[in-house]
Every structure is written in structure tokens, then in C-alpha cells.
Amino acid sequence: MIENSERRVVSVIVINEASVLSRITDLFSGRGYNITSLTVAPIPDSKYSRLTIVTSGSIRVIEQITKQLHKLIPVLRVYEHNDIVEKEMALIKFPIAENISDINTLCEAYNGKIVNIGENVIIAMVADEPQRVENFLQAIKRYNPKEIVRSGAVALER
């Protein structure tokens, strides 16, 4: 029985302590759940960190993921989001020979700009919805990007 798989964003608030991240990633690998992306950073002025995990699975699997996450002792809260603002950042390195103004115009359309111009390369950044970052990365293919790094999504409930 193959159930429909959906993309989902799950946020997890955890106590900032040793090996808490491995508890979470072990849970995903041990139970065969997908991680599309995972970001983590401390929550300011608290002993907690916030993880944003982009995953996919059937409704039943997503429900299990949130329940299993919640079972981990250092997990305070798990949000399975519906109505969210979601952003992702990407950094892209281009050869200096490419058309800088074209690249800059494209970046601006995706909340970005050129952030560094060196001797041989330029580095641009964009920050937008993950799907739009995806589109952007398609669009810049013809400028021969040398390296791309994506941050993974972060999200907040509306």
C-alpha cells in the first residue's frame, strides 16, 4: 500500500545539550524517515535550540515523526506546520567572466544581491521561499555557477 507522500516542515524545540542533534537524526535514520533539510540554531536568551526539518511522508508517517520526536526526552515541543512563512538562503559562486549585471538583476528578483567580488569569482546570495530558490538555481544555470550552497529552510507559523 503506497500512501501519498507530502512535503512537510516540522519545527522542534530541544534542550541545548550534548548529543541532542544525534538523537534526532538517529531517530530519522533508524525509523526510515526522510530528511530533505535540517537547520539548527540556539534560541536567543534561552537554554533551547530550534530545529527546522523539512521532511516528506504520508500523513501517517508525518504523524509518527512528530510523536516519535516528542518521545525523545530533551524535546520540549514539536510543531508540524500548516500555515507558515518559510525562507531559505543560497550562496552561489560564479566565474568573474560571467555577466555581473545580469546576475545581479536576477538575484534582486529573488531577494538577493552580489555579496562579494574577488579576483576570479563573484559570490551572490538569495533568500526566498525554498521553491523560489529552486527556480532561481534553475535560472542561473547558464551563468555557469561553480559552487552552490543552500542553507535549508527555516520557518515560522503565521
Binding site: D26, Q64, K67, K71
Partner: protein, 567 residues
Amino acid sequence: MQISGAQMVIEALKCEGVDTVFGYPGGAIMNVYDEIYKQDYFKHILTRHEQAAVHAAEGYSKASGKVGVAMITSGPGFTNAVTGLADAYMDSIPLVVISGQVPMSLIGTDAFQEIDAVGISRSCTKHNYLVTDAADLPRILKEAFYIAASGRPGPVHVDIPKDVTAQIEKFDYDIKLNLETYKPHVKGNTRQIKKVMEAIAHAKRPLFYLGGGVINANAAYEVRELVHKTGIPAVETFMARGVLSYDDELLVGMLGMHGSYASNMAMSETDLVIALGARFDDRVTGKLSEFAKNADVVHVDIDPASISKLVNADYPIVGDVKNVVLDMLSLCDVVKNEDYSSWRESVNNFNELHPLTFYEDSERLKPQWVIKRVGELLGDGANITTDVGQHQMWTSQFYPFTRPRQFASSGGLGTMGFGFPAAMGVKAASPDKVSINFTGDGSILMNCQELMTAVEKKLPVVNIILNNNFLGMVRQWQTLFYDKRYAETDLQVQPDFVKLAEAFGGLGYRVHTKEEFDAALKDAVEKNVVAFIEVIVYRLENVMPMVPAGGSLFNMMLLEKKGEDND
């Protein structure tokens, strides 16, 4: 009080009321063993293998309801214990397992007997700790005991580097735990419980599906009351044997792969499943899409992740079974139940059509007879453990269990080698009962070194080896599904089990007949010694009835008629 980390371990165990610790020493845990030497708070039982120490702690916990404690050294001591941790994790057994670790300064250097113990135990424990400062030790140990026993119970592993056991710090166990991220939900939702009682009142063919959670919750007697007040028949999982007494007229039997025909048919026909502390394991449900197809499902479980994991619950209730059952009992009189007598009658008819039974043989002992016979001779006076295989299923089918915590067996992991050490733990917790381990000729060799422990510590476990010269359960599958290609299951070459027992200072018996068996059991029980009773049984007996893996519960293979030999 300023004491060392090692002394803190001892003091904490005392504060937790621990009276028995199972373990095995080694370099990294020596500071703690030095303190064990000096104390008289608790008994330490030296097993002859770390796996056995953990299984013994499991048996102890199963019989007593308390947290079992095991202690081991780093590296190979720890890896030997992993099977025990995994076993306890699968069967929700509360344990605290303390291991030594190389000193902090050496962690990560591939030091002698270093292994990433918490990395390994993470996926087979409820929680684990690497202690990096002795000042944290009182809190961590207190948390470990609390987490192990509360909510859905399970094993907690505490790994302590050697230098931490030497570090001197203040010890104060009178701390209030504040686990803001861990708050098990024990009280069931009242409105939902009312709805359940109404659903029960409207159901025509309701069925209780009782699981090991009832025993974890110490709720067997409340459940008995609920079953009788409502008059609803009940099936038990393997882990719930003894919740209802074997002779309870409302107990249909065990369900699942080797459950009774009537239990599986009742589950297939019911219109309302009332699951109490059961987790819809695949050995129980068979083909999921056909499981209890006509029924709404009530699921009471303390672990939200158990609910709607495999079978969708129409009435989910997160809470401790005991609390929920007490709430249900208080509503029993308010809600008028249907009269379920015709439903009970049809369930009884299933039982009459295909009763759980076996055919005797005049020449050869049947393994089922042995189990039934022990039931007749010892009954309520014995606590029972098993190893894994055919003998395990027959024990569940044919032993007359009368009370909760009478039975300990490895259900979820199915660990061969569990039975004997677990029986030692059971004996340590419950010395007034005879401790019987039903085992197989395969399984017993997986922890037979425990003869030494049992003899030394006077834990007179009677091991009844149902010798079929086979890894019988695997052989059964080969007979049924692999065209009798008996790949590596034929155990023709065997030790002399009598001499084996004797070599360690136990008693050994080899029996071929009913009379010999009775005499051997009587002798072993009277002499109150560690014993091996090797019973030569018919080799090719199959555990029946059976739902082939992945099949539907209502499609059981049934016991073949007498005369149609299955070899």
C-alpha cells in the same frame, strides 16, 4: 556530604531502594566495584556474561515490578550488554544500566576498551547519559530511575568515565526533579472515556484486547473487574498472559500468529476492539488491512506514538491503563450495557470448533504435555520464563497462568538466551516461588554459563529443556514454507546436558517418559537446586494453529488430525 562519584552510585542505589544488582566488573568500573565491596546496602550478583546480567535484571523487574539494575564495564562489557538493552527496550522493561567508560581525557582517542557506548545505546534505550561531571551524578541517577519507571517504561543507560567515578563532589539526593521536557500523560481524557463507555453500550460484539501495558500499569485486577462487570470477552497478547486467570470464562485466549482459533475469529468478528496497553504488533495483527475489519477501535496507551501507529484508533485515549480503567469502572453503572450473551456464545462455539489442543502419542513425549504437566504439578506456585522458539509458544498456549508477573519472556526482540538469566532474576525477586525456565536445546546454549551464577548464588532455577534436536521454530518454517530444506537447523550433535549441569555443580536429569519426568521435576523442586531437566520430545511437532506471516487472522493453519503425521 562530599564523596566520590563511585560512592555516589552506591548511595543513589540505596536511596532508590535497590536490593539486588546484577553485574560484571572491569577496568573502567572498578572504582564503583571497590565501593560495592565496602557496602552492605544491596546484594551484587556476579553473572558470567554481561548479557546475562541485563536479562537477569529484566527478570527481576518483571517479577517485582521494580526497576532492574545492571552494572558493567566499558568496551566489550558494554557491547555484551547491548542485546539486553534492546530486549528491555522492545518489551518496555524499566532498567537502569550503569557502565564504566574510559577517563574523560581519553575519550575519542581509541583508548583501551573505549567504545562510543551512548552512541550505540541511543537507539535501544528510552534515554541515556554520558556523565561528564560527578556533580551531575545525583541528578542524573535520579532522573534515570524516574524515566525508566514512569510513562512507557524502558531501559536507561548511564555511562560514567572512570575519572568521574573518582571525582569528589557534594552528594545530595534530596533534589526535586524538574524535567520540563518530559511529562508523561497519565490521566485519560474524561469526555473521551465517557464516549467509549457509550460505544461499548451500543456495541453488539465488543472484545477486550489486553496487552503488556496492563501488567506494566499493575492494573490486572482492575481489568479483571472491568471485564466481569461488562461481561465482555477478552483476548490477551503474549505479553499479557496472566492478566486474566487461565480459567476465567471470559478469557478467550491468546491471539495472533500462534493464538487460538477462537481468539483470532473473535478479533475478526468483533464490532468494537477495546485495546488496553497493547501495541498492535505484527505477530498479533497479521495482515493489517484485514485486522478487525468490522470494528471501531478504542486504544488506551500511555505512549501517544503507539496510538494509530498501525491501526487507526477511533477512540484514542492517552493515559495510564490503571487510571483509565478505574474511570471506566466508575461509569459502568451509569451506562447500560447490552447483553452480550449471544456474542459470548458464538465465541465459545469457535473454541469448541477448533479448541487449542494437541495429540498425545503413546511412544513419545509431546512437548505440550510437559508444559501442561508442570502446570498441573506446580501451577500458581511457579514463576515461568522461557527462551525463544516453539517451546516459548507452547508455554504461552498451555501453561495455566493465574496471575500477572508470573510470566517473563522475550516477546518483542525474541532473544534466545533470555530465559535462564531472566529466571535467576525472577528467583531473586520472588524466592518463595519455584522458578521454571522452559527452554530449547538451541536456546539453552546461549547462556548456559549462568549455571555457575545460579549455583554460586543459590538461585535454584529449574531449566526444562524440551529437546527436539532442532532449532525447532526455524525448522517448522522450513517444513511449511521451504519444502523441508533443513538448512542448519538440525542439532544432532549436542552436549551431554546432564553432565553439563553437573560440571557446574547443578543437577541433571534426562527423561523419556511421563513417569521419569514427574520424578525428575519432583526431585529437583524438593532438593531446591539448580537443575537441567532434559526432556526428549517428539522432534517434528509443529506449533499450531498458525497464521502464516502476513496472512489474515481468520485464515489459520489448523492442527492436523491425529494420524496424519507431519514428518
